[in-house]
């Protein structure tokens, strides 16, 4: 409401963050773990004078740069791009808190790019010691980058003492920082090995060299799986009460928790039975399977990490609908629409139908309000609810969630959402605002599904529900 809300039909704008973030982490972890792989293994290959392995590592360095420096770097910027569009107030808060954290991260990012290119393009041209040193500069820079970014994302889940003192280091060294750094470091080692298997299985013919690569990468992968598990346990222990409750309550999160556990066990078993015990198993099929499982576990982990924060974007600091908790009492006095910059402007201008074919097409995804009160309710819905809910089709659509609800039930959820579901933010408006919202929700509500049998003499009674 302080900033214009970006309405993304069906998906909701914050889901774009989740999509880009997941696309990024699948490569960014490799960017860290792969750096260690290249530094350690190049050093080892030089020491053992293993020319065939060195040749493979050079090929892998090219693949690594192509994936991480282009895709990894741009999607990293992409996350930033998207959070500014979808969650501007939270981004504003993060940037004003951690600007020099990001600036430090930027410094190591420059070192990453420079060292990655020098490591690759000066292969065989630099003396071995300098070459390995540059590999290590990359690996350490990438890991520092991981640490800084993880501290900031961990802050969003549990800001710890920062809420009281607003001190930079309280924010960075929050209760979630160490567990998440452990988990992400482990994830980096694990995913890097899985990428190595994928690359080696396609690029290296079946040979002793491929088995050698499989065996060399198995130990860091297994270590990574252990670190992920330890970090995951720490993450669970350090969760705020509401997040732990969300994990227990939402059935989709129950399923995902089991899935992440199952996937981690599966990856661990495949690594142990495969490259660790039988390095010859590293075939394209095996590599795709194990990398797919690793990616599924990572994706699930990221989704869980985002989902359990609700109703906050930054726990106790910014609600998921771009309201500061401290603003709620004021908004309940002056009214929700009156209390925000762009919502107040809406009351003054009342634009209803966007111009142009694209605008009109996008607008059809939102049920048209029938009267003035519903129109106000639609604006409340956009700014108060649409960060997490689509309208009638899409991500967590309100129309579907309210199927068959009575007006009283709808009025209850509109006026006190946090009482109905603790993972929803409180309603930040007057009773009149909530009534407007309820009226619009009733417009979106879909009927109770037809043909459902709830007991009675025979199935014919189901017709009563039509």
């Amino acid at each position: 409401m302080h900033y214009p809300f970006w309405y993304v039909p069906f998906l909701t704008s914050p889901m774009l963050i989740a999509i880009i973030a997941i696309l990024h982490v699948l490569v960014s972890h490799y960017a860290v773990g792969g750096g260690f792989f290249l530094a350690v293994e190049t050093q080892h290959a030089y020491r053992t004078r293993n020319e065939a392995y060195l040749q493979y590592l050079r090929q892998h360095a090219w693949f690594f740069v192509l994936i991480t420096v282009v895709y990894g770097a741009i999607t990293g910027v992409g996350i930033w791009w998207t959070i500014g569009l979808a969650s501007p107030l939270a981004t504003e808060t993060l940037i004003h808190t951690f600007v020099f954290g990001w600036a430090m991260e930027y410094v190591v990012f420059v070192l990453e790019i420079a060292s990655a290119y020098i490591f690759l393009y000066y292969w065989g041209r630099l003396d071995q010691r300098t070459h390995v040193a540059i590999g290590w500069i990359y690996a350490i820079s990438a890991w520092i980058s991981l640490v800084i970014i993880t501290c900031i994302t961990a802050f969003m889940l549990n800001p710890g003492a920062w809420v009281r003192n607003h001190a930079f280091w309280s924010g960075m060294l929050n209760p979630q920082a160490v567990p998440q750094i452990l988990a992400r470091t482990g994830g980096s080692f694990l995913l890097a090995s899985l990428y190595v298997y994928l690359h080696a299985s396609f690029k290296v013919p079946i040979s002793d060299l491929r088995s050698y690569i499989g065996a060399r990468s198995a130990r860091p992968a297994l270590l990574g799986a252990v670190l992920v598990t330890l970090g995951g346990i720490g993450w669970l222990v350090m969760l705020p009460d509401s997040s732990r409750a969300a994990l227990m309550t939402a059935s989709v999160l129950n399923v995902l928790t089991v899935l992440i556990f199952a996937m981690t066990v599966a990856v661990f078993a495949m690594l142990y039975l495969g490259p660790y015990r039988n390095p010859g198993w590293v075939s394209p099929g095996f590599a795709i399977l194990v990398l797919g499982a690793g990616m599924a576990a990572t994706t699930t982990g990221e989704y869980l990490r985002e989902a359990v924060r609700k109703p906050y974007i930054i726990y106790n600091v910014v609600f998921s609908n771009q309201i500061l908790p401290a603003e709620v009492p004021h908004l309940r006095t002056v009214g929700y629409l009156n209390g925000g910059v762009w919502t107040r402007a809406y009351l003054a201008i009342r634009p209803e139908i966007p111009r142009g074919p694209v605008g009109s097409a996008l607008a059809t995804s939102m049920p048209a309000p029938a009267n003035d009160r519903e129109a106000r309710g639609a604006a409340v819905f956009q700014y108060h609810c649409a960060s997490c809910h689509a309208t009638t089709i899409g991500y967590s659509p309100v129309g579907q969630l309210l199927r068959g609800w009575t007006p009283r039930m709808i009025r209850d959820v509109a006026s006190q959402p946090e009482k109905v579901h603790f993972f929803m933010p409180p309603f930040a408006g007057t009773p009149e605002d909530s009534e407007d919202l309820a009226l619009y929700l009733m417009r979106m509500r879909l009927p109770h599904p037809k043909g459902m049998y709830y007991g009675g003499p025979d199935l014919r009674s189901a017709r009563l529900l039509r």
Binding site: H2, Y3, P4, F5, W6, Y7, V8, L66, A73, I74, T75, V77, W81, G84, L85, P88, T91, T93, V99, F100, W102, A103, M104, Y106, V107, V108, F109, V110, L111, I113, A114, Y117, I118, L126, T130, I137, H166, A167, F168, W169, V341, W342, T343, A345, Y346, I349, P351, E352, I353, P354, R355, G356, V358, G359, A363, M366, A375, A378, A379, A386
Partner: protein, 382 residues
């Protein structure tokens, strides 16, 4: 309605550092970003065009494109600095402007990824010596995507300053008060000269780069190429200067409000305005000195001069932005809570980082020097 009413309240956290500190890094970061950005903005298009222009043109095209992946990597990287500080200092105008055009703004990520991989695809073919029609098409598409990205940026950054235009744009592209993200700032008359002016500046940067690059590593292509490159750089810069001059005049005289014009042509800003406008002529003169072949010392001076031109442009842009936003945004009013506990570690990181970077570059330069003194294998074609 009063457009000023659309500005969010200041952050309760305040600025984490004094405004001047953030503005310094924003301008420095933009200047560092603008040099490689100019090279891909105009350079890829020229590289595609010159592929057909004879032996030396093709050599130039090959040499530039061979370096393009690294140029893009550093250009994108340096772009993060101004993005960070613009969001810290100008967040109240940056977020609304980009949200109003959200889909276009977001498209930058997709376009950049495709354009960047397109460049890689082209360069891989170039190094393998099998640039086919498909690869040339990919190169052209990358060039056009980069120009398109420039257009989106010109829209976003001009919309940041065009607070007066927000109500109308929002009215036409919103539903129930929420932005659809489908707007562009094409109604703003500053947009077109700003976008085109950057292209003129980019032509001069490519020209300066050509002189610099030829002086330092172009000799292995033979004397004929060195002479051609000197002459080409001069002609390219001349076109760039004329282009830049026309669009800059259009921008200043055709779009600046009276107050901005008066402020930029009064003391103490007038020397900066004149230097910003006339700077590229100095680069042109330096290139004229090298028209028959670059010398390292003059080429180095040309490089510094062009960086100065880009830097002056960034400073002037910053001043104009502040003047345009002055009716709406007083940056001096924002509370400042300087975060010494993180600012000092950042400065330490910065110094250590620069040290490590310099060491790495020195290692690479030493290798290059060693290889340059070794017997030449003959002209390279990439």
């Amino acid at each position: 309605m009063n457009p000023a009413d659309l500005l969010a309240p200041p952050s309760p956290l305040g600025f984490p550092a004094p405004y001047w500190f953030m503005a310094f890094f924003k301008v420095l970061g933009f200047s560092l970003h603008a040099v490689p950005m100019n090279l891909w903005y105009a350079g890829i298009l020229l590289a595609m065009l010159l592929w057909w222009s004879g032996e030396h043109g093709r050599t130039w095209s090959t040499r530039l494109m061979n370096r393009m992946p690294v140029i893009i990597a550093f250009g994108v990287n340096f772009g993060i600095v101004p993005l960070l500080f613009v969001q810290t200092a100008y967040y109240r105008v940056f977020y609304p402007a980009t949200i109003l055009m959200a889909w276009f703004w977001l498209s930058v990520i997709g376009l950049l990824t495709l354009a960047y991989y397109g460049v890689y695809l082209y360069v891989i073919a170039l190094r393998a010596g099998n640039v086919s029609r498909f690869h040339r098409a990919v190169g052209w598409i990358s060039a056009l995507f980069f120009i398109g990205i420039g257009f989106v940026f010109a829209n976003g950054l001009s919309l940041m300053n065009n607070v007066a235009g927000w109500p109308e744009i929002w009215r036409n592209t919103s539903i129930s008060g929420a932005a659809l993200g489908t707007a562009l700032n094409i109604g703003d008359r500053t947009l077109w000269p700003r976008w085109l002016m950057m292209f003129g500046l980019a032509l001069t940067t490519v020209a300066a780069y050509t002189a610099f690059e030829t002086a330092y590593s172009g000799h292995r292509e033979g004397e004929g190429y060195v002479r051609w490159a000197g002459s080409f750089a001069l002609k390219l810069c001349a076109v760039g200067v004329v282009w830049y001059g026309i669009t800059a005049l259009w921008y200043m005289l055709g779009t600046w409000p009276h107050q901005t014009l008066e402020a930029m042509f009064a003391m103490p800003r007038v020397p900066l305005t004149v230097l910003t406008g006339a700077g590229p002529v100095l680069v042109l003169l330096l290139l004229w000195l090298q028209r028959r072949g670059a010398t390292r010392r003059v080429a180095l001076a040309t490089g510094f001069a062009q960086f100065g031109v880009v830097g002056l442009n960034a400073i002037s842009r910053q001043l104009v932005q502040n003047l345009e936003l002055a009716p709406y945004l007083n940056l001096m009013d924002e509370p400042v809570h300087t975060q010494w506990s993180s600012l000092i570690p950042f400065l330490v990181f910065f110094l250590v980082g620069v040290g490590v970077l310099v060491w790495m570059v020195m290692q690479a330069v030493a290798v290059n020097r060693r290889e340059a003194t070794a017997p030449s294998p003959g002209p390279t074609t990439g």
